[in-house]
């Protein structure tokens, strides 16, 4: 069931392994339009600027600075381009960093073809895509923040904490539930699940909390 080319999501793949790019291309099949690919930061920025895709599938690790650099460079000039981080196994701080830079989600390379297509389409539609691993990372990052911090500035306090419901949703994602299953489990609509996830993503990106950065730094040291 191929989708007519005019409405198909236009995807750009950035990964330093040619074999992997070919693999992803094959997995995506004709469900989306793969309009270009690149193997490092500089060619990626050039290629994305030129081809203006809907979604960029971005490897977390790239030789010339990592996927984070690509997001940072393009966020201001191409706000409509959405990034989905895709990687095999990474340190949580790198993944959190690329999300904080502006990526809309993170999936692991073990994801099935159908799930990848689904994730790409959802990112294109503006949703956030959390794999179980990302949910775990986020829970970990926020758990490391003390619940009652005296130094907490009052104006952005709700950005620094997850609500119990958000925590619950993240936990279920981490346990491997799909959004639909989470909705059934918590007696809410799938739409509400999605809004909780988006809200977590926003907090992750907007929190000015030094602790998030510090948490990442500490993780890197240990």
């Amino acid at each position: 069931m191929s989708v007519p080319s005019s409405t198909r999501t236009r995807v750009f793949i950035v990964d330093d392994h040619g074999l992997f790019r070919a693999g992803v291309r094959a997995e995506l099949g004709d469900q989306v339009d793969v309009i270009g690919e690149a193997d490092d930061v500089e060619p990626a920025i050039a290629g994305i600027t030129h081809s203006d895709p809907d979604v960029v599938l971005l490897d977390v690790h790239l030789p010339g600075g990592g996927g984070q650099a690509v997001v940072t460079a393009l966020r201001a000039t191409h706000p409509h381009v959405r990034f989905l981080a895709l990687s095999a196994s990474d340190a949580p701080e790198d993944v959190i960093a690329i999300i904080r830079a502006g990526a809309r989600g993170y999936v692991t390379k073990t994801i099935s073809g159908a799930d990848l297509v689904d994730a790409v389409c959802r990112v294109a539609a503006g949703e956030a895509v959390f794999s179980s691993r990302l949910a775990g990372f986020v829970l970990d990052a926020f758990a490391a923040l003390p619940a009652d911090d005296q130094e907490r500035p009052s104006f952005d306090s709700e950005l620094d904490q997850l609500t119990p419901r958000e925590r619950e949703v993240l936990r279920l994602i981490a346990r491997g539930f799909t959004y639909k299953e989470i909705a059934r489990e918590l007696f809410i609509s799938a739409k509400t699940v999605e809004s909780h996830v988006s809200s977590v993503l926003r907090k992750l990106q907007l929190s000015t909390r030094h602790q998030l950065t510090r948490w990442a730094a500490e993780r890197r040291l240990s």
Partner: protein, 422 residues
């Protein structure tokens, strides 16, 4: 009140007093009173004890009731039999007369207050003699069991030791009583106190071994329980390693190479368990919980050819409870890999300040937990019982053709509580 009497009579047609020796602590008198009057058994017992403290009156009452009230299922009371027991009557009369003489002497010396104990003491002595001699077989057993540690007369108990104990007790008792007596006429306050101490010492000497034995029994019982738990732990380990491998071998019977490989691996594991005392699946002591979860991932991926996706949040050091939790998680993961048919098994572990949770999920065929034969001990023994033994909890949720999720949780020891690092 008439209707009440009717009611009572209707409820207990004979209306007679009975003892319930098999339900009671001693002769079942209190139980009988409670059954007859409807007063709570504990209240009846308390009344007897309080009365016993009041000059031994309660003890005498109890013993007389024991003599006069027939036990359930008996037609005559012990007292009636006692009347026909000539030797018993003689012994009782002899003892009673000696006691009366002692009490008379004591009251002459000036301890008149002791005389208040005299009557209940004499009556109790007579009653005990008659009961011991004439009670039915099973009640005599009860008496002997109670008296035995007190006197130590069974079998080949070293009589010299018993005699020594009684002698020491006697000396202490005499010393105590005389100090008490002297103190009574004297104004010195410390002396009666010393007397009390000596009397207490006498009680300890006589009853000490009994208490010791009771204590030893408790310890022995606890050891038995510990042994039973160890056995159960070992059974689950055997199940996890050997039985699981045997199941795998059966499933891969067509592939001799694989079977040999599995058998070799199992043999190595078994040897290191038996001869190096390294339990199967046990971890180095310095590993953390998250590392343990990743070890499960590596093991199951290597042995069972499925992908295990692991997400961990937080981490902590391992103690024996968490090690058991990991063993249960491993079992659940192996189960999912072996039976669910799913290619991916998800493990999610979260360490919170108060507890550790772990979820094992597959999207396989699912099963009906109630339909699992009882000899399949995987879920019941290796997972649930193991978690419960260590103070945790395990629940299994399975929906046919949607998959299975095993949830484990274990409270963290208070000492391990730590504030998450900022």
């Amino acid at each position: 009140m008439g209707w009440m009497a009717e009611h009572t009579r209707a409820k207990r047609p004979r209306g007679s007093w009975r003892r319930f020796p098999e339900r009671g602590l001693l002769g079942g008198v209190a139980t009988g009173v409670s059954a007859r009057t409807g007063i709570d058994i504990t209240a009846v017992r308390t009344i007897f004890v309080v009365l016993a403290l009041a000059g031994g009156f309660g003890i005498a009452c109890y013993l007389i009731a024991w003599l006069l009230v027939p036990a359930t299922g008996e037609h005559t009371n012990i007292g009636a039999k006692g009347l026909g027991d000539r030797t018993g009557m003689t012994v009782a009369a002899g003892l009673a007369s000696v006691l009366i003489a002692v009490f008379v002497l004591l009251s002459l010396v000036g301890a008149g207050w002791i005389g208040s104990l005299a009557w209940s003491f004499v009556i109790s002595t007579i009653a005990v003699v008659l009961i011991v001699r004439n009670a039915p077989q099973d009640e005599q057993m009860t008496l002997r069991r109670l008296a035995d540690p007190l006197i130590g007369f069974t079998g080949d108990t070293r009589r010299s030791r018993v005699a020594l104990r009684v002698l020491i007790a006697g000396v202490l008792l005499i010393a105590g009583v005389s100090t008490l007596l002297v103190g009574h006429t004297n104004t010195a306050l410390l002396r009666p106190l010393a007397g009390v101490v000596l009397v207490l010492a006498a009680i300890v000497v006589v009853l000490g071994p009994w208490w010791l034995r009771a204590g030893r029994d408790l310890v022995a019982e606890r050891q038995a329980r510990v042994r039973a738990e160890e056995r159960a732990d070992m059974a689950s380990r055997v199940h996890d390693s050997i039985l699981q491998t045997l199941a795998l071998i059966q499933r891969r019977a067509t592939d001799p190479q694989q079977v040999i490989q599995l058998a070799r691996a199992q043999e190595r594991e078994l040897r290191s368990w038996l001869f190096e005392e390294r339990a199967p699946g046990s971890l180095a002591t310095d590993t953390t919980f998250a590392a343990g979860v990743r070890l499960i991932q590596a093991e199951v991926e290597a042995h069972h050819g499925v992908t295990v996706e692991v997400v961990t949040v937080g981490d902590c050091a391992i103690d024996e409870h968490l090690e058991s939790m990991l063993a249960a998680a491993r079992e659940a993961t192996v189960n999912a890999a072996t039976w669910s048919g799913a290619l991916v098994v998800s493990l999610y572990a979260e360490v919170e300040p108060a507890q550790v949770s772990l979820f094992v999920r597959d999207r396989g065929r699912g099963f009906d937990p109630a339909a699992v034969p009882t000899d399949r001990r995987g879920v019941s023994e290796s997972i649930r019982a193991r978690m419960i033994r260590h103070g945790g909890m395990a629940t299994v949720r399975s929906v046919s053709s949607e998959g299975t999720e095993v949830s484990l949780s274990m409270p963290r020891a208070a000492g391990m509580l730590q504030v998450p690092a900022v």
